[in-house]
Structure formats: structure tokens, C-alpha cells
């Protein structure tokens, strides 16, 4: 039952083609939590200088641990931020077919006009989307009826049933209340809901984390199938690198609010450049492999008070003198690859730093 489909087999590509415009371009985005607790001002740099481009029909994965800022990043991209999270700089630009929109450009963006029609979400807690006291049908009417030009309620329902059928879901789910469905079924319904308008961009935040493995695999297969069919771009966030390995065309690794490495999934897994990525990939357990794995020392930094220089340097086995003081630039490193690491890209080390390359790793 395993088919060997290479990730990236769709229209997506590791190297952005100049003729194809990205659906989403994020440039130098900075979003901080600005907290004012009883007169004490604090800044938590959850998203710090992040640039991403996501092409049409591409699955882009973001990997990061808790408090890496990945949730803040997608909230910012989705235009769903609330104080204390504030965009401090940079821009988020969507280029939909015939409609482009700049979030945070100053003018209040007309988000409602693009939600569901162009941009939709699949969230971890399906119960937050589905109203527990109303049938599933009502959720489809609430979210999608405005965006699907159907002459009548019946015609609208036909569109919905056809979509459910495409997702191998029985039309009977429309008559069910959310609590009558199993967790996996509920998550599939929310996926159907998020894709019924054939949006061009879908944001998925840990959509399978709460599910059992067997169900998780089916739900992931469904997400991929529907993405291929409607040709959307998908931004998929999870902490589970095994999911990324199976689903994503490209992958961005976040550490402490910054992107540290980006590349095509197969390249990244085959030859990770950043020491953090290297650790994440080598520490993944595999059935049939009992070679001892090394743990990573130290703990993720506190974003309110991140270490200077490279934020990973206190835990990095390859840390050098320069890593302590200078933030490594996020530079292109081969075809479709970007990385922020002085050890991987020694030519990015600035001149004039004494003992720049002397190892400081313990």
C-alpha cells in the first residue's frame, strides 16, 4: 500500500521559477509580544526577521519546538494576531489570482473578503471550528455559502456533497453533530470545510497532533490528496519531523523565533547543514535502528532574553567564537537552500573578529 511518490512531484519546485509568482511572500517579518505587566515592559521576540516565499501548489512545512515562535508566525501570516502580539516590522504579501493583499501595510486589510475563499485554516482542535450544538451542515452554510455562487440552497448542497465525495466522506456527516463523530472524522470534516471553497492558500497548524497514528496517516493522506487536486499552497506546521518528511515539498526549520535553515525536504533530510537540523534529523528514532543517539545539551532559550549572536550557540556542538556575538545571516547555500550558520557557511563570517573560528563548544 506504499506508493513511492517523490515529494515535490507536483507543480511545486525547490527553486522558485522566476515566471511563477509566489502566493505568499513574507519579508523581514518581526512580530513581538509586547507585554506591560504592572508597569514592567517586556518584549518577547516570537518572530524575528523571517522571510519566506511560498509558491503555488506547494506544501511548505515549518518545523520547530514549543516556543520556537512557529505558532506566532502562522498567526501573523493568517492576519489573526491580537495584542500583546504586535507586528513590529516587515510585510506579509499574498498574491492570489486576481487579488493581492498586503497585511500590516498600514491600511486595514480586508481580511474578511479573502478568508475561506482564498485563505483558509485547518486547526488542531476541530471542536473550535465546529459548533457543538449545530449540525455539520450548518457549519458549511456558515463558512462557505457566501463564497460559493450557487443559485439555491440545493445547488450549494450539491457542491458540498460533491466535495465530501471527493474526500471520501459520506454525505451523512452533514446531518451529524460534531460529538457524534470520532476525532479523526471530525478533523476530516474540518479539512473538507477548509477546502470546499478551493482556497489558494491553506494554513494547517498541527492538524494531526491529537490523532492516533493510524488515523493520522489517513488524515495526512487526505490533506495531501485534496491539496494536489485543488492545487492550493499549503503551509503545514508541526513539531513532528516524520510528518514533514512524508508530506512537505519544502521545509523551513525555526529555532527561537528565527528561521535557521530552509530547503527541499529531500535535500534537507539528506544533507542537513545547520547543526540544529542535523540533530533533529539524526535523533529521530526509526524502527529497525537501535544505534545510540546523542541528546542535545541545554534547553531552548527564553525568547524574552535570547542569547546574543546565534541563538543556538549555547547548545551547538560546532559553536565558534564568532557565534557568540554575531548573528549569522540567512544566506543562500546551494540550489534552493538557505541556512544561517557560520560553521556551514564560513565565508559569511565577517572580517576583523579575533579568533573568530576558535571553537567554544564544551
Amino acid at each position: 500500500m506504499t506508493t513511492l511518490t517523490q515529494p515535490g512531484a507536483g507543480a511545486a519546485m525547490a527553486t522558485p521559477d522566476a515566471s511563477v509568482r509566489p502566493v505568499l511572500s513574507v519579508e523581514d517579518l518581526r512580530a513581538y509580544y509586547v507585554l506591560d505587566l504592572f508597569g514592567v515592559k517586556r518584549e518577547v521576540r516570537a518572530v524575528d526577521d523571517i522571510s519566506i516565499r511560498i509558491m503555488p501548489n506547494e506544501i511548505y512545512g515549518i518545523a520547530g519546538e514549543s516556543s520556537s515562535g512557529k505558532t506566532s508566525l502562522i498567526k501573523t501570516i493568517a492576519g489573526a494576531i491580537q495584542p500583546p502580539l504586535t507586528v513590529v516590522g516587515g510585510k506579509v504579501h499574498f498574491d492570489f489570482r486576481g487579488k493581492s493583499i498586503d497585511l500590516y501595510s498600514g491600511a486595514p486589510a480586508d481580511l474578511d473578503a479573502i478568508r475561506w475563499r482564498h485563505l483558509s485554516y485547518i486547526m488542531q482542535g476541530s471542536m473550535n471550528v465546529l459548533n457543538p450544538v449545530r449540525r455539520v451542515r450548518q457549519a458549511f452554510i456558515d463558512f462557505a455559502a457566501r463564497h460559493i455562487a450557487a443559485p439555491s440552497r440545493r445547488a450549494f448542497e450539491e457542491v458540498v456533497v460533491a466535495h465530501l465525495d471527493r474526500l471520501h466522506l459520506s454525505p451523512h456527516v452533514l446531518d451529524a453533530y460534531p460529538h457524534e463523530l470520532s476525532g479523526g472524522m471530525r478533523q476530516r470534516v474540518t479539512i473538507a470545510l477548509a477546502t470546499v471553497c478551493k482556497p489558494e492558500f491553506i494554513i494547517a497548524d498541527e492538524p494531526t497532533t491529537a490523532l492516533d497514528v493510524v488515523v493520522q496517516k489517513r488524515v495526512l493522506a487526505m490533506i495531501r490528496e485534496v491539496q494536489r487536486e485543488i492545487g492550493s499552497s499549503l503551509l503545514f506546521v508541526t513539531h513532528d519531523m516524520s510528518v514533514h518528511a512524508n508530506l512537505c515539498d519544502r521545509l523551513g526549520i525555526m529555532y527561537a523565533g528565527r528561521l535557521v535553515e530552509e530547503g527541499a525536504t529531500s535535500d534537507l533530510f539528506a544533507s542537513p547543514k545547520h547543526p540544529y537540523t542535523q540533530h533533529l534529523i539524526s535523533s529521530l528514532p526509526r524502527i529497525g535502528d537501535r544505534t545510540p543517539r546523542e541528546g542535545l545539551k541545554g534547553t531552548p532559550p527564553n525568547l524574552a532574553d535570547p542569547p546574543p549572536g546565534c541563538r543556538f550557540h549555547p547548545r551547538c556542538p560546532m559553536a565558534m567564537e564568532v557565534c557568540r556575538t554575531v548573528v549569522p545571516p540567512f544566506v543562500t547555500a546551494g540550489k534552493g537552500r538557505r541556512v544561517a550558520c557560520f560553521a556551514a557557511e564560513p565565508e559569511t563570517i565577517p572580517d576583523g573578529i579575533a579568533n573568530a573560528t576558535r571553537s567554544i563548544a564544551a
Binding site: 514549543s66 519531523m241 535523533s283 541528546g295
Partner: protein, 283 residues
């Protein structure tokens, strides 16, 4: 042959519903296995949600009495533990580790409190310096020290640190058995490996047996000696971890193994087949 732990045809029924029209749910059905004394091992219980694996863990910890069968720890039926003195004696030998390190300590209290309390209650020490010495000794076994932990609140520590502190606390009384219910599922990837490695150190260097309850077949393969696979309260497959996971026999075990997403798929090709999406589960 002496058993450290003997789980003998254990079953658990929960009554659900109100006074009228209550129905019974079988959470665990006829589970038997035994851990031998003097041969520490990591015994893994694999199951998905609703498999009864957490109920089994609670029964072994004597927090929930079994409905059928018996659980004997070092020959004594744990259901017969009634007095506080017996309970303390039992807890000295059997300690738990919980799933969510951020939930495992009261957020309003300092974490060292649990370490000191454990040393006082189980080891009968009362002098402050001796209590602190024992806490420090246990923390050093998990790669921490009292200096790093003392006076800290849970929110000041990372998930990995908290889980290590929880393990250190469980080690203070010198238990023979640790029951760990999904101990790494909430721990970040970069910290998970060292926790899992720590379990192997406990087995090899301290001679502690560990019942490792998880849904993750990959870490189970990495650390376990023996495993059982549970489905809907019943054991469907049991045996040597490597043998079972390399070549599962029961259809459910095979399904589980097939569902594990391999990280190698990034290079060899995705395992997400479209036929999977078509497999409907009953609503």
C-alpha cells in the same frame, strides 16, 4: 522464580452514565504479564487512545483497583494495600512519571518541594542538609543539580528539565519499578532523546525496571526489551520488542506499524498513499 511484578488476568470495568440506564465499559480485558526480580528491563505497553494502556498503568500504581484478576508486586496483592503505612511502603518501591511535565508540578509551588517531601516521607530523613543531599544526588543521576533547581517555579524551567526533575523525584525512594505513562510525548524533539536515553541508563546502571507506556513505535523500538501491543483493552501481541516490531503478526500490529511515518520517506518517497485517504472509519 520470583516476580517483581505480576499482572495476572487483569480486567477493569467502568460504569458509565447516571443512576438510571448506566452501562459498563470494559477498559482492560484479561491482561497478563510478569516482570522478573533482579533482571531490570524496559517493558513497553503500546496502544492508541482507548486501548486501556493508561488504565493499566493506574492499576499497576494501585491508584485504581482492578475489577478482575490481581496485580502482585513483590508477591503482595496491591489491591490489599489499605493502610497508609502499606501504601507508603508500596510507593517507595513503585513510582510514576507523568505525561505532561508542565502539569506534573503545581505551577504555584516551587519544584524542589516535591523532591524534599519525597526524601522526608520515604527515606525517613528530616535534617535539612541530608534532605538536600538526597535531592541533589537524585538530580545528579538525571544530569541536573540541586543548585539549578532549588527555589525555582515550574514556569522557569523547560519541559525537558521538568521531566528530568520528575524522574529524579521518582528515583529518591530507590524504587524497583517506574511506571512512565507517555513520558516524552509532550517533550520537545531536541530534549526527547536525552530523556529516552536516561531510561536506558536507569535500567542499566541503577537496575530499575521501567514500564514504558506509549503510542510511539519508533521510540519503543529504540529502548524496549519486551513489548505488548494493546487494542481496545486486550493484548493482541506480545514478545521481544525487536522481533515483534520488525515483523508483527497480528493484523492490528501490522496496521500500527504501517501507519508509522518514517523520516526516511523524505529521501525514499512518501508513505502517504491515496488509498489511505479512502479508507473510511465508521462514524
Amino acid at each position: 522464580m520470583t516476580h517483581l511484578l505480576e499482572v495476572d488476568k487483569v480486567g477493569k470495568t467502568y460504569a458509565m452514565g447516571g443512576i438510571l440506564g448506566s452501562h459498563r465499559v470494559r477498559a482492560v480485558e484479561n491482561v497478563s504479564f510478569a516482570l522478573e526480580a533482579g533482571r531490570p528491563e524496559i517493558f513497553t505497553v503500546i496502544g492508541e487512545s482507548g486501548s486501556g494502556k493508561s488504565t493499566l498503568a493506574r492499576m499497576i500504581l494501585a491508584s485504581v483497583p482492578p475489577s478482575d484478576g490481581a496485580i502482585r508486586f513483590e508477591g503482595q496483592d496491591v489491591a490489599a494495600i489499605k493502610s497508609r503505612r502499606d501504601r507508603l511502603a508500596f510507593m517507595k518501591r513503585v513510582q510514576p512519571i507523568f505525561q505532561n511535565p508542565f502539569e506534573a508540578f503545581n505551577p504555584l509551588k516551587k519544584v524542589d518541594r516535591y523532591l524534599f517531601m519525597t526524601a522526608r516521607r520515604f527515606n525517613g530523613v528530616s535534617r535539612r542538609d541530608e534532605v538536600e543531599r538526597q535531592a541533589d544526588e537524585a538530580l545528579r543521576k538525571v544530569g541536573l543539580s540541586l543548585a539549578e533547581v532549588k527555589g525555582r517555579f515550574p514556569h522557569e524551567l523547560s519541559g525537558g528539565q521538568l521531566q528530568r526533575i520528575a524522574i529524579a523525584r521518582a528515583l529518591i525512594p530507590g524504587p524497583a519499578l517506574i511506571v512512565a505513562d507517555e513520558p516524552v510525548s509532550m517533550v520537545d524533539a531536541s530534549l526527547r532523546t536525552s530523556i529516552v536515553n536516561l531510561f536506558m541508563t536507569l535500567r542499566d546502571d541503577l537496575g530499575v525496571s521501567i514500564i514504558y507506556i506509549t503510542h510511539d513505535l519508533a521510540t519503543a523500538y529504540y529502548i524496549s526489551d519486551r513489548i505488548i501491543i494493546m487494542q481496545k483493552g486486550e493484548v493482541v501481541e506480545a514478545g521481544d520488542a525487536r522481533t515483534v516490531l520488525a515483523d508483527p503478526q497480528h493484523p492490528y500490529s501490522r496496521e500500527l506499524k504501517a501507519a508509522v511515518l518514517s523520516p526516511d520517506a523524505a529521501i525514499t518517497g512518501s508513505a502517504l498513499a491515496e488509498t489511505d485517504a479512502a479508507t473510511l472509519e465508521p462514524t
